[in-house]
Amino acid sequence: MNVAPADWEPRIIGFCCNWCSYAGADLAGTSRMAYPPSVRIIRVPCSGRVNPQFIVRAFQRGADGVLVAGCHPGDCHYTSGNYFTRRRFLLARRFLEFLGIDPRRFQARWISGSEGQKFAEVIREMTDQIRALGPNRKMRDEAI
């Protein structure tokens, strides 16, 4: 049984692209928008930098959810990085589901630099979903 300890809070690893989503997160912060402190942001040059192994590694090291956020299609700083991201994670999400990971634990979103509001909403929504799912035990390193 997946019983959450009383003081458990979801831990989400958020891979944010430097040019859009990280700026979006920054905007959420500077605009004083409240969102749950459950996300730990890792800044990447492009969402295309995110290797699917990063997702598994995050779950291994104790993440309850993983978010990959990048520029909207057509807006990539490097022209096409996010199109590759889209193909890669369309496939990875189905594959993780096939291995038994709830697809709500791994999500990808397009968040632009002006969408601070959307960033806050995505984190709120994902935190609520993962709180309902409880702590992740799958793929997790037993030592952690």
Binding site: Q53, R87, L91, F95, F98, G100, I101, M139, R140, E142
Partner: protein
């Protein structure tokens, strides 16, 4: 001795004598089953054997033959020619240095199977006659209809709940002894430096734990996503019988459905994850 075997021996003997190839990879009789062999002299050709129980997996030997001038021959059925094509597309094998001795094939079986049941891939085979060759041996196979790929085992797994599916895969992966045979035989796994071999970054520790097993099997399967040629060698060489092709076929089916790639197992000019279309399915918004 079959007619095909006789023709093969003659062809290999002639190619070696004429100096068209400096070696030929094929099989000879092994202790309990056909063993891979490298023939370098024309008079050795009499030892060559070929039958439906000869395993595939010869293509990777070509990797060791790229440093020297001159072509090296390989005896290959249709599915094994796809493996050679994979290595050529990946620019790991120079097409000029491979001489494909194509052999037509009706069906093949795993030499370790006493019942000699044909491989699953043979039912949906569309390459009874190899798609590419420098020399073709054998009669064309025209009377074997190819059936559509059977994904019923994957559908069955997908009907299970997530937790049951996770349990299922953990049970399978827990047997893994990390021998890397699946990687070593795979024609789609030919990186000069494999992420499992490098110490920094340490993608895979030496520890045998469920978490590390998932890391290995997730990575292996995803690295061949859209690149697998359905040769089923990974499954054949696995000493503990992990159904690796279920993972590979699941990914191939998704590649076909998501990116409208008609034949996911045939090496194309670009690989599905190395390309994109602006109108790819949008689920992330």
């Amino acid at each position: 001795m079959s007619a095909v075997e006789t023709q093969l021996r003659e062809a290999v003997s002639r190619l070696l004598a004429e100096g068209k190839v400096r070696a030929v990879y094929a099989h000879r009789a092994g202790w309990t089953r056909p063993a891979p062999a490298c023939f370098t002299r024309a008079e050795q050709a009499g030892e060559l054997i070929f039958n439906p129980g000869c395993p595939g997996g010869l293509a990777k030997y070509l990797l060791g033959e790229q440093q020297q001038e001159g072509a090296v021959g390989i005896v290959a059925r249709g599915c094994e020619v796809l493996a050679v094509q994979r290595l050529v597309r990946d620019r790991r094998v120079n097409r000029d240095r491979a001489f494909i001795i194509g052999v037509t094939c009706r069906e093949a079986y795993d030499p370790a199977d006493p019942e000699r049941r044909p491989y699953r891939k043979c039912q949906s085979c569309e390459v009874h006659t190899p798609p590419e060759y420098d020399l073709l041996i054998g009669e064309p196979v025209l009377d074997v209809p190819s059936q559509p790929d059977d994904y019923s085992d994957i559908d069955e797994l997908e009907r299970l709940g997530e937790d049951e599916r996770y349990e299922y895969w953990m049970r399978q992966f827990s047997r893994c002894i990390r021998c890397f045979a699946c990687r070593n035989v795979c024609p789609a796994c030919s990186c000069r430096e494999c992420c499992f071999d490098v110490a920094e970054p340490e993608w895979l520790s030496k520890e045998v734990s469920p978490s590390e097993q998932v890391m290995f099997h997730f990575t292996r399967a995803f690295h061949v996503a859209g690149r697998c040629v359905n040769c089923q060698e990974c499954e054949r060489v696995c000493p503990v019988g992990i159904p690796l092709m279920v993972l590979n076929r699941k990914l191939a089916r998704d590649v076909r459905q998501l990116f409208a790639i008609d034949k996911p197992f045939v090496p194309g000019e670009v690989e599905p994850l190395g390309a994109f279309r602006p109108d790819d399915p949008e689920e992330f918004m």
